[in-house]
C-alpha cells in the first residue's frame, strides 16, 4: 500500500468529541484506481474518518493529503471541486426537490449550463437505476431509492475519489445484487473508491484492500482474505476470546 501511487494519504488523524476519543491517531492510504474497504464495528469511528477526509470534521491532529496537496484545512466544497465526493450514511436528500433536481445539484459542479447539467443528471440517474423517477419528489423514494440517490448525486460531480458510507445498508439481498455491478462499473470508469461497508459479501467481492478500525484505532490492513483471518479482526467483531475459540473449533 505504501509507495508513490497513493491518491489519498491520511496520517495520524485524531479527533475527540468532548470526552469521547472517536479517532485515536490513525492512518490509511488509498491507491489510485482501487476499491479500498474501511470496515469495523459500529462506533469504530469510520464515518468520522470520512468526515475528516471530506472536510466535514476538523481533526485535532494529523493530515490529509490528496494527490500530493495538503487539504487538511480545506473547506468541504473545495474538496468536492478537487474531485472528492462522498455519500452520507444517514441519507441527506434535498427533500423538497425532485430526484432529477437533486442529482443536477451535483452535475452543476462541472456543467454551468442548465441544459447540460440536466442531461448529465439524467444520464447518471439511468446509470444507478433511477431513470424512471426523475420527476418524483425525493421524499417519495424508498430506502433503496434514497441510497441510490446519494450515490447518483455524488457520481454526478464526476469525482476521481468516491467515498461511500454504507450504501448497501438497509437493502435486501436482491437490491444488493442489483447495485454491486453499478459500483464495479464506477471503478471500471476510472473512479477510485473508498467504501465503508458492513455487508461482508460485498466487501470481499469488491475490495482490493481493506482497513479495519475498532474504537478509533486501525487494527489491521491488507488483502480481504488475509484480513478476515486476522485474529484481532475476529475479536473486534465477535468479542474477546473469539479467535481462540475458533482456533480450537478448527483444530477439534
Amino acid at each position: 500500500m505504501s509507495g508513490g501511487d497513493a491518491m489519498l494519504e491520511v496520517s495520524n488523524i485524531s479527533r475527540s468529541f468532548g470526552g469521547v476519543r472517536a479517532l485515536g491517531g490513525l492512518s490509511l492510504s488509498v491507491a489510485q484506481g482501487s476499491i479500498t474497504g474501511l470496515i469495523g464495528p459500529n462506533g469504530a469511528g469510520k464515518t468520522t474518518m470520512f468526515g475528516v477526509i471530506s472536510g466535514f470534521v476538523a481533526p485535532d491532529t494529523g493530515s490529509v493529503t490528496y494527490r500530493g496537496a495538503d487539504i487538511t484545512r480545506e473547506p468541504a466544497h473545495l474538496r468536492a471541486r478537487r474531485g472528492i465526493a462522498r455519500t452520507f450514511q444517514i441519507v441527506q436528500p434535498f427533500a423538497g426537490l425532485s430526484v432529477g433536481e437533486n442529482i443536477a445539484v451535483g452535475s452543476y459542479l462541472r456543467h454551468a449550463k442548465p441544459s447540460e447539467a440536466r442531461a448529465r443528471a439524467e444520464a447518471v440517474a439511468r446509470r444507478v437505476g433511477l431513470g424512471a423517477m426523475l420527476d418524483q419528489p425525493a421524499s417519495a423514494l424508498t430506502v433503496s431509492g434514497r441510497k441510490r440517490l446519494e450515490l447518483a448525486r455524488a457520481l454526478a460531480t464526476e469525482p476521481d475519489l468516491l467515498l461511500l458510507d454504507e450504501v448497501l445498508a438497509g437493502l435486501n439481498p436482491s437490491e444488493i445484487r442489483d447495485i454491486l455491478p453499478v459500483i464495479h462499473d464506477i471503478r471500471a470508469s476510472g473512479v477510485t473508491i473508498l467504501m465503508i461497508e458492513h455487508v461482508m459479501q460485498a466487501v470481499m467481492a469488491l475490495c482490493d484492500d481493506i482497513f479495519v478500525m475498532a474504537q478509533g484505532r486501525m487494527i489491521a490492513e491488507g488483502k480481504p482474505d488475509a484480513v478476515c483471518r486476522d485474529p484481532q479482526v475476529i475479536e473486534a467483531y465477535l468479542g474477546h476470546g473469539a479467535a481462540a475459540r475458533m482456533q480450537e473449533a478448527g483444530n477439534a
Partner: protein, 318 residues
Amino acid sequence: MKRSEWLFLVALLAALALVPLLASNLVINFLVTALIVALAALGWNILGGLGGQISFGHAAFFGTGAYVTELLQLRLGANAWAAAVAGIAAGALVGLAIGAAVFRARLRGSYFALVTLAFAEVLRILANALDVTGGASGLLLPLQPGAAHFQFDQRSVFAWIGIACVGAVLLLTRHMMNSRFGAHLAAVRENEDAARALGVDILATKLRAITLSAAITAAAGVFYVQYFLYLDANIGYGTWISIEALLAAIIGGVGTMAGPLIGALALHGLGELTRGFAGSITGIDLVIFGLLLVAAIAFAPAGIVGAWKRYVGGRRNA
C-alpha cells in the same frame, strides 16, 4: 415552473395594466401601493422563499433605497433616474454587508431573523436621529412632474411602471430558478451539508441571494419615494414593510413565482376593506394581517398559490 402558471401570471399582469384605464384614482392608488409591496415581497422571496433564510428586516433595504434616492436628489441635485439606480445599488450593498456579517457568523433560522430585524431597527433609529435624513420630520421631495424627474402627473403611469418592474423581476426570478445559482440556492435551503458535499459554496450562495434580494426590495423603496414624495424613518425603515414583504410572500405562497404578487394584492385588498369597515380602530389592519397569517399557516401552509394548485390537482384527479 409550469407553462400554465406562467400564462396565468402574464394574464394577471395584463389585467392589472388595464385597471388604470378604467378605475378611479383611489383604485390606482391601491394598485400602486400593492405593487410596491409586491416588489418588496418578490425581493424577500428570493432570500426567504427560494433560499430559506427568513428575514424580519427587509426594511433595511427598502429604506436604504428610498433614502439614498431622495437624499441624492435633495442634497446633491442628482437626476432622479440616476438617484434611483444609486438607491438600488446602495440597497444591494447594505444587503451584502449585513449578509457578510450574519452568514459569516453562521446565523440561521430565528437567529438570522432577529439579527436582520435588529439591523433594520438600528437604521430606523439613526435615520430618525440624524439631521441629514431630516430627523423625525422626514423629507419631502419637491413636486417636479416630468419623465426626466421620474415623476408623473398621472398616477396610471406609475402603475404601469410598477407592473413593468414586477414583470421584469418575475422574469429575472424565473431565469434564476432555472440556473445553477437557483439550484444552489434550493440546495442550501434544503440541506446545507448535502450541498457542501456537492461543491456548493454556502456562504457565496447566501451572499448572492441576499444582495439580489436587497436590490429588488430597495427598488420598491425607490418607487415608493418617487410616488409619495415623502419619507421618514418609520416609513423607510419601519417594521411595516418588513412585515408586509414577508406576509405577502408567505400568504401568497413561499418560494412560488406568483406568490408575492398575489399575496400583496390579497393583503392590500383585505387591508383596504377592513379600513373601510372599521377605519376608526387604529391598527385594525395589523390585527387582520395577524389573523390572516395564522389562517394561512394553519390551513394553507403553501399559501394561496399552493392551496389553488392542490384544489386544481384534486379536481383533476377526481
